[in-house]
């Protein structure tokens, strides 16, 4: 589960990770009202207005409605004109940003509507660094990753300047140890007061990550200010959804408007669904088989419209829900049902598919491939139904070929 930058900063700030002061605004008036208290609290007339969407690349992103306007804007007007000038500038920015569509490298060309702004104190940046806590799958342990190349994607740094990255593994028995926080801070070039602040920051971040079951915490950039403070200028946090049961306080942080509506509906029915750009809808049992079905469609010249795993214990109800989700997508020109009935019998699945087709209606060609227990009976049930546009395939490859032909 992803959360917004402002939520991440509130969460981290409350746990001893140093973050700038800021205020959330969902209206123009709230944005304007945020300016004076920020300027008075920090003594800095500079404020920053940041679009809050889940996608990255906001600074370089541009609004569809205002092609010259970026997703993150530094307001310097207060330096000469005082708080009133800053407020006026923030008003003008908020009026254009709120409700507009921000396109970044991660949103896709359609962009995302900005409904929340974060108004934050300006920071005098001395250096930009990078820090993250992620799972290292090859060892099955969390690692803290630090880089002197802040503001750049870590993958890019890993490819071009691997020596700029240092790592410390967290032993789950004892947590990140002080010497490790010191080593990371030292390798980041932090000295004196900044080193002390860096150690505290790193330790608090590692502890938060483990305690809150994060999937990932990324601070990019982590900045050293001209005054020697160490702060998270940006913060990206996501949580392990399987661990949310033990963190009920995190549930309200979920922003459903940032998620694909069909994917949210699918989750309610115990389906795993991901929307893709193609034309052939897929309904499959098992995650590996569902991925392989998409691959096979592509291999024989088609484009999958989705990933959909109905799970091991598919019922008529969730097969029907799956059909509804697939057929709601206007780009779907055909559907491929690919089931390996292991414990679940193929005749049960065949009946479920027919029932679902009956409930939802069939406007596009449908190819069904069944394998497993009672496969002959299952095939006969589907063939006997005699539905126009419904084809039974022998193998997975044959099924993929048929549906690609039928949608040409």
């Amino acid at each position: 589960m992803k959360i917004h930058e402002y939520q991440a900063k509130e969460l981290l700030g409350a746990r001893g990770v140093s973050v700038p002061q800021g205020r959330l605004a969902t209206t123009v008036e709230e944005a304007v009202a945020a300016v004076r208290p920020l300027v008075e609290a920090t003594g800095n007339a500079v404020v920053v207005v940041k679009s809050q969407i889940h996608a990255g690349g906001r600074g370089k992103g541009r609004f569809l409605e205002h092609p010259d306007l970026g997703g993150v804007n530094v307001v310097l007007d207060g330096l000469k004109g005082g708080v009133e000038a800053a407020e006026a500038a923030v008003r003008s920015l908020a009026e254009r940003m709120l409700g507009s569509t921000l396109v970044t490298v991660q949103t896709g060309p359609q962009g995302k509507q900005v409904n929340r702004l974060y108004v934050e104190q300006g920071i005098d940046i001395e250096r930009e660094l990078y820090l993250s806590v992620v799972l290292d799958r090859s060892t099955g342990r969390n690692i803290v990753m630090a880089s002197t190349e802040g503001g750049t994607e870590i993958e890019e740094v890993a490819a071009e300047r691997p020596d700029a990255i240092s790592r410390e593994t967290i032993d789950p028995a004892v947590g990140l140890l002080p010497f490790q926080a010191h080593a990371l801070s030292w390798r980041l070039g932090l000295r004196g007061e900044a080193a002390k602040a860096g150690r505290r920051f790193i330790a608090a971040l590692a502890q938060t990550s483990v305690e809150l079951d994060t999937d990932m915490v990324e601070i990019n950039p982590l900045v050293v200010t001209k005054g020697g403070a160490v702060m998270a200028l940006d913060a990206k946090v996501s949580f392990d959804k399987n661990a949310l049961f033990r963190h009920p306080q995190l549930a309200p942080l979920r922003d459903l408007s940032e998620e694909d509506a069909a994917e949210v509906t699918a989750t309610e029915y115990g389906l795993s669904f991901i929307k893709l750009d193609g034309t052939i809808g897929c309904l499959v049992n098992g995650a590996g088989l569902a991925m392989a079905t998409m691959d096979t469609i592509k291999e024989v010249g088609g484009e999958p419209a989705n990933f959909l795993d109905v799970g091991g214990g598919a019922t008529t109800e969730n097969v029907t829900a799956a059909f509804e989700i697939i057929t709601r997508d206007p780009s779907v020109r055909g559907i491929f049902v690919n089931i390996f009935g292991g414990i679940m019998k193929c005749d049960t699945i065949a009946n479920g598919v027919l029932q679902a087709v009956h409930n939802v209606g069939l406007q596009v060609p449908l190819v069904v491939r069944l394998e497993g227990t009672n496969v002959e009976l299952g095939k006969r049930i589907i063939e006997d139904a005699g539905l126009p546009g419904l084809v039974v395939a022998g193998s997975m490859r044959e099924g993929a070929e048929r549906i690609v032909e039928l949608t040409r």
Partner: protein, 312 residues
């Protein structure tokens, strides 16, 4: 011969909920020796399993079975009383990690975890706890382990399996069944099939199972089924290149998976451009494995690998 499980396996059940009972019943029907179960409140009771034997299971058994499985409060008690040497875990996700560590503490040699949705941090702790202990963990989020006609631990359909020459190891459940079915249909059969699970942090990995199959005299060829995410397939490829003399076929799912999305399995995600199917396929091909283009070609890929090695 086989790996991990066989006629000597004495199984303990942790988690007698609906799914646990159903699949344990299927395992008993298949001929697996289920000797004990644990339950927090039902110690002292027995769980009765009865029905018709699974004709695809252990040969030479009569038409029906009735087994009384004693229930214990703790794994220690169960092991002491019954000599159980393997455990299957169906415990719900919030409690599964504790169940695994309890089994390891009691010295159970093999723990197979079917449970899907265990928090990652729990598995990080479990993996640390298991360090230096003799317990082997398979899974979580896996279909289990089977040796045809000998022992079934998990949730796979028993009847598709046939004793034979090929070792199967996979991160995916249904793709394992696809491969097994094709190997049964083309007459090669399986020595054992091991599902290592679709989670990002798991116990036994590809390399562990490849080593077992390489050392198993009955296994003549191996098929490994991987998917996007992580680097387990690349590590397997390096191991194959250096340590596996037997023919290896492979399939990798997720060529068309978009980056940054979790494809059903918690571990199936391309993050930061790493963990793509293309990288894994390239690594396996460079290591000499025959990589099937679609899952329909997995059986043929094993035949091709054996042909290249001159022992088809």
């Amino acid at each position: 011969m086989s790996v991990l499980v066989g006629t000597g396996t004495k199984l303990l059940v942790q988690g007698l909920g609906g799914a646990g009972k159903f699949h344990v019943d299927r395992s008993i029907a298949y001929g697996t020796q289920v000797v004990a179960a644990t339950h927090p409140t039902r110690a002292g009771e027995v769980e009765v399993f009865e029905g018709e034997v699974d004709a695809s299971g252990v040969p030479g058994r009569t038409g029906s079975y009735r087994v009384e499985v004693p229930i214990f409060a703790t794994v220690r008690d169960a092991v002491a009383a019954t000599g159980a040497n393997a455990s299957v875990v169906f415990v719900p996700p919030p409690f599964a990690a504790d169940a695994i560590m309890e089994a390891a503490d009691a010295g159970v040699e093999l723990v197979v975890v079917i449970t899907e949705g265990i928090p990652i941090q729990d598995m990080v702790r479990v993996k640390r706890y298991l360090e230096g202990k003799p317990t082997r963990l398979v899974g979580p989020n896996c279909p289990g382990v089977i040796t045809p006609h000998e022992c079934r631990i998990g949730i796979m359909p028993g009847y598709i399996h046939e004793t034979g020459r090929v070792g199967v190891v996979s991160r995916s459940g249904t793709l394992t069944y696809e491969a097994v079915k094709q190997l049964t249909d083309n007459g090669l059969g399986q020595t054992s099939a091991v599902g290592i699970g679709g989670d990002p942090v798991n116990g036994t990995n590809f390399v562990d199972v490849l080593r077992l199959f390489q050392d198993d005299p009955a296994t003549e060829a191996i098929i490994m089924i991987g998917e996007i995410g992580g680097t387990a397939e690349e590590e397997a490829a390096a191991f194959i290149r250096d340590h596996v003399s037997k023919p290896v076929a492979a399939f990798i799912a997720g060529t068309t998976a978009p980056p940054g999305k979790r494809m059903g399995h918690a571990g199936a995600i391309i993050s930061g451009g790493a963990g793509t199917a293309a990288e894994k396929i390239a690594a396996l091909e460079a290591a000499g494995a025959v990589v099937a283009v679609t899952p329909s070609d997995m059986g043929d890929a094993v035949l091709e690998a054996m042909r290249r090695a001159g022992n088809a």
